[in-house]
C-alpha cells in the first residue's frame, strides 16, 4: 500500500523579515552588517522564507541548487551601500536543500560552499552547503548514542568469477551477535558510501537498540565499475545470487528464506537492486529502493540521460511493458526536489500492479545521501520490523 506523505502545515512568520528590518535601518555600513551577521544563522529561516546571504566585493552572486522545476540559478541582490548580497526564496516546511554559492568577479566565475553556513553535506563527488528549512530536524537516531550497543563491521573480501574481480564488502554483525540465532540478511549497494555519507552503521546500532528494526546481518557491498555493474548487469546479479548469498549462508547464520532477504540501494544502486531481483526471482523477497534511477521512455528511446542510462532505460521499458512480481515487499522512497521523482512516482502503480506490497514515501529533499539517511529508520523498520511490540521491560 502506498501512503500519502503527510506534511505539517506551512510555517508562519510574523513581522518583517530580518533582511527587510536591516534595510529599514539605512544608511547601512560595515559594522551594522557585521552585527547583523553575528546575530543570525545563515541562511536565515523565517517561516517559509529563507534568506541566503553572501558578503564580498564582487560583481554578481547567485545561489545554485538542484530543486527540480525551479530556477536553479537564483541571483542575489546587493544591499544598497554595503557588500552584503541577499535573496529570499520560499521553501515548504521540512525541506532540506543542498546548494552552493556562485560568485562572478570580472570574468572569473567560482562556485563554492556558503562561507556563512557551517552546515555541509558530503558525498562521493564533494560537499555542498545545506539549508534546513523550518520544521526540518536532523533525526536523533543518526547520531551515535552511548546507550546503543554497537554492532561490529568486519571486512569481508571474496573473489568473484562472475565479475572477474575481487569484491570488497563489509559485514555488519549486530550487537550481541550469536551463531545460534538466525538473522535476516540485508545487502546494501554502494555500501561504503552508505556507511560514510548516510551514517548507516550508527543508524543500524540505534534502531536495532530501540527495537525498531530486527537484529540483521548487513552486507555492505561495493562496486567496481559502478556505471557498468549497477544498471542491469547480468554478472552483478549472478554474483549476488550465486556467489555472495551462498558464501554468506555458508559462513553466517542467516535465515534461508527469500522473505528474510532484502536488496537495497540508492540511485543506480536501486536499479541494481531491482534488476538483480528481476533476474533471480524468488531469491530476494524485499527491496528497499531510494531515489531509483528508474528512467524510462514511453515513446522511442531518446531519454536524454546520456549513455550511462541506456541499459537502465532498456531494462525499465521492458519491465514496464510486462511488469511481474519480483519481490513481495518494496519500500520505495524519493525526494520531491530531484528529477527522478517523476519516474519513481510512475513506477509505484506498476510495482503495485504485480501484487507486491509497496510502501512509497516522498521527502522534501534532493538526490543526496542525507535524504537517504533520513528515511533509513522508516524503511528498515518496515522491511525488517523489530520486536518493539513484544518486549516489555
Amino acid at each position: 500500500m502506498s501512503l500519502p506523505t503527510s506534511y505539517p502545515a506551512p510555517p508562519r512568520h510574523k513581522g518583517k523579515l530580518a533582511i527587510n528590518a536591516l534595510k529599514a535601518t539605512a544608511p547601512l555600513d560595515g559594522p551594522k552588517v557585521d552585527e547583523f551577521l553575528a546575530r543570525h544563522q545563515v541562511p536565515i529561516v523565517e517561516g517559509a522564507k529563507c534568506t541566503f546571504l553572501y558578503r564580498g566585493h564582487v560583481d554578481a552572486v547567485a545561489v545554485r541548487h538542484r530543486i527540480v522545476n525551479q530556477p536553479q540559478h537564483v541571483p542575489m541582490r546587493r544591499l544598497e551601500g554595503t557588500d552584503l548580497w541577499y535573496v529570499t526564496i520560499e521553501l515548504p516546511a521540512q525541506s532540506r536543500v543542498e546548494y552552493q554559492i556562485e560568485v562572478r568577479s570580472g570574468g572569473a566565475v567560482e562556485t563554492f560552499n556558503d562561507p556563512l553556513n557551517p552546515l555541509v553535506a558530503h558525498s562521493p563527488v564533494g560537499s555542498s552547503s545545506v539549508l534546513q528549512a523550518a520544521g526540518y530536524e536532523t533525526p536523533d537516531w543518526v547520531q551515535p548514542r552511548p546507550e546503543a550497543r554497537p554492532g561490529e563491521l568486519v571486512d569481508w573480501t571474496m573473489q568473484s568469477k562472475a565479475l572477474r574481480r575481487t569484491v570488497h564488502n563489509r559485514i555488519y554483525l549486530p550487537a550481541r551477535f550469536r551463531r545460534s540465532s538466525a538473522y535476516p540478511l540485508l545487502v546494501v549497494h554502494d555500501g561504503d558510501d552508505y556507511i560514510t555519507y548516510a551514517a548507516m552503521k550508527t543508524v543500524l546500532d540505534n534502531i536495532i537498540h530501540d527495537l525498531d528494526m530486527a537484529e540483521t546481518i548487513v552486507v555492505f557491498s561495493n562496486p567496481g565499475d559502478r556505471l557498468r555493474e549497477y544498471p542491469n548487469y547480468a554478472p552483478h546479479a549472478r554474483h549476488l545470487a550465486r556467489e555472495l548469498l551462498p558464501a554468506i549462508e555458508e559462513e553466517l547464520p542467516v535465515v534461508r528464506r527469500s522473505a528474510a532477504r532484502c536488496l537495497m540501494g540508492a540511485s543506480f544502486g536501486a536499479v541494481a537492486s531491482l534488476s538483480t531481483a528481476a533476474r533471480h526471482p524468488d531469491t530476494w523477497g524485499n527491496l528497499l529502493l531510494q531515489s531509483g534511477s528508474f528512467v524510462f521512455t514511453d515513446i522511442g528511446s531518446d531519454h536524454g540521460g546520456g549513455p550511462a542510462f541506456d541499459p537502465v532505460v532498456k531494462f525499465m521499458n521492458r519491465y514496464r511493458a510486462r511488469p511481474r512480481r519480483i519481490a513481495d515487499r518494496m519500500y520505495v522512497h524519493c525526494g520531491i526536489y530531484e528529477p527522478l521523482i517523476v519516474p519513481n512516482r510512475s513506477m509505484v502503480p506498476v510495482f503495485e500492479s504485480t501484487g507486491a506490497q509497496v510502501r512509497y514515501v516522498e521527502s522534501r529533499d534532493g538526490h543526496s545521501w542525507e535524504n537517504w539517511r533520513d528515511r533509513l529508520r522508516d524503511g528498515l523498520s518496515w522491511i525488517f520490523p523489530g520486536p518493539q511490540k513484544l518486549v516489555y521491560e
Partner: protein, 350 residues
C-alpha cells in the same frame, strides 16, 4: 493487602518497569526480602543469566530457573520437536499478521466514523460500538485459534513425553519446590510464554481452582508469593495484549497474542504505559479499554505496586484506564445486597 504472613496467604504483586528498582522496598514490605526466590528471566533471552543485580535486589538468595537456556538445550537434543515448534511459531506469526490486517481496518473504520459530522451523536456511538463488537469477536476468535494451534502442537509432539522436556521439567520442578517465592521479570513476552509453557510452570505457580458444584471456574490457588513486572506481569494475566502506539512503521493497533497463565481475574496488564501508549488520546485509549472489557486495563508505570486479592482481582485504588480513556482508580463493585437489605432500602427510598 496481603496477610501478615506472605506464605500463609500468597499473593501476586505486579510492578512497573524496574529502571529505578523498587523491588528491594517492595520485597521488604511484603516480608519477602532475603527469602529463597526462584527467578524467571527467560524474557531476557541470551542475557538470561545476567541476573546479579536482580539477585542483590531480592536479598541475595535466588536461583535462576534458566528456562531460556534449558529451552535451547531442548531444541538441540530434540530437533524434531524444535522443528515442530518453529513451524508452530511461523503459523502463529502468520495468524497474527492476518488478524492485525483486520484490526487495522476496524481502527480505520472507527476513525472515519468519529470524523463523521452527525445529526445525532448517538448515531456515532452506536456505529463505534458495532465496530468494537467486531473487534472483540476478532480478539476472541484469534485467541481460540492460537489456543487450537498450541493444543495441536502439544497433541502431536507430546513434549511432556520427550526426554529432553521431561528432564527439563523435572529439573525446574525441583528448583521451584525449594523456593519460597517467585520473581518474573520483563523481556520478550512471546519467548517468556513459550518457555513457561514448555516447562509447564503454571502448576508450579498455582494449584487448579477448587472444584465446586458449579465447576472449576474460580481462580487458581497461588502456591507462593509472586513478584512480576513488564512481560512477567503480562504472562500471569488471562490474556496477553501487545501494544505500542508509537511504532515507526508497523501497525500501532493493540493486538492479543495468546492466553496468559490465567493467575489473575479481570486484568489486562499494561506495563510502561507512558512510554508505550498514546495516553493523551482519550478516544484511542477508550477503544483499548472497551475492547478489553470486562477486564480492567491496569497501568503499570514506574511507581506501580499492585498486590492483587487472594482471588487474583485488582485491589481498590489500582490505577486503570476508564471507559472514557482517562486514568482513574479501580473501585471494586459493591457486594450484592441480601434480600432483606434490598427490601429495607426500597422501603427507605419509598
Amino acid at each position: 493487602m496481603p496477610a501478615d504472613d506472605p506464605f500463609a496467604d500468597p499473593r501476586i504483586t505486579l510492578l512497573g518497569p524496574q529502571r529505578e528498582p523498587r523491588v528491594p522496598k517492595v520485597a521488604e514490605r511484603l516480608g519477602l526480602r532475603g527469602r529463597r526466590f526462584a527467578i524467571i528471566t527467560a524474557g531476557w533471552r541470551d542475557r538470561e543469566s545476567e541476573d546479579e543485580l536482580l539477585t542483590d535486589l531480592l536479598g541475595g538468595n535466588t536461583v535462576n530457573l534458566g528456562l531460556w537456556s534449558l529451552m535451547q538445550r531442548v531444541w538441540e537434543r530434540d530437533p524434531e520437536l524444535a522443528e515442530g515448534d518453529r513451524r508452530r511459531r511461523l503459523i502463529h506469526t502468520e495468524m497474527q499478521e492476518l488478524y492485525l490486517i483486520g484490526l487495522e481496518q476496524a481502527v480505520v473504520a472507527i476513525r472515519r466514523i468519529r470524523e463523521h459530522n452527525p445529526r445525532d451523536e448517538r448515531v456515532v456511538d452506536m456505529a463505534v460500538e458495532d465496530v468494537l463488537e467486531v473487534m472483540r469477536r476478532m480478539d476472541a476468535r484469534h485467541l481460540e485459534r492460537v489456543a487450537d494451534l498450541n493444543h495441536s502442537f502439544y497433541a502431536r509432539y507430546e513434549p511432556q513425553h520427550r526426554d529432553a522436556v521431561v528432564d527439563g521439567r523435572f529439573h525446574v520442578g525441583r528448583l521451584v519446590a525449594d523456593c519460597e517465592a517467585i520473581a518474573v521479570t520483563g523481556g520478550h513476552v512471546g519467548v517468556l510464554m513459550g518457555a513457561l509453557h514448555l516447562f509447564n510452570l503454571a502448576p508450579a505457580l498455582a494449584a487448579p481452582p477448587p472444584v465446586t458444584d458449579a465447576g472449576a471456574d474460580g481462580t487458581p490457588v497461588l502456591l507462593r508469593p509472586v513478584l512480576a513486572w513488564g512481560a512477567g506481569a503480562m504472562v500471569l494475566t488471562e490474556r496477553v495484549l501487545l501494544f505500542y502506539d508509537h511504532a515507526v512503521s508497523s501497525p500501532s493497533v493493540s493486538e492479543l497474542l495468546m492466553n496468559g497463565l490465567g493467575l489473575t481475574r479481570g486484568i489486562v496488564a499494561l506495563p510502561s504505559p507512558k512510554e508505550r501508549l498514546a495516553m493523551r488520546d482519550p478516544d484511542r485509549m477508550s477503544v483499548l479499554v472497551r475492547r478489553a472489557a470486562p477486564a480492567h486495563a491496569l497501568l503499570l508505570d514506574e511507581q506501580a505496586e499492585v498486590t492483587l486479592t487472594a482471588g487474583g482481582h485488582l485491589p481498590a485504588g489500582a490505577r486503570i484506564l476508564g471507559p472514557d480513556g482517562a486514568v482513574t482508580t479501580y473501585a471494586p463493585p459493591a457486594p450484592p445486597a441480601r434480600d432483606g437489605e434490598a427490601s429495607a432500602r426500597e422501603e427507605e427510598s419509598a
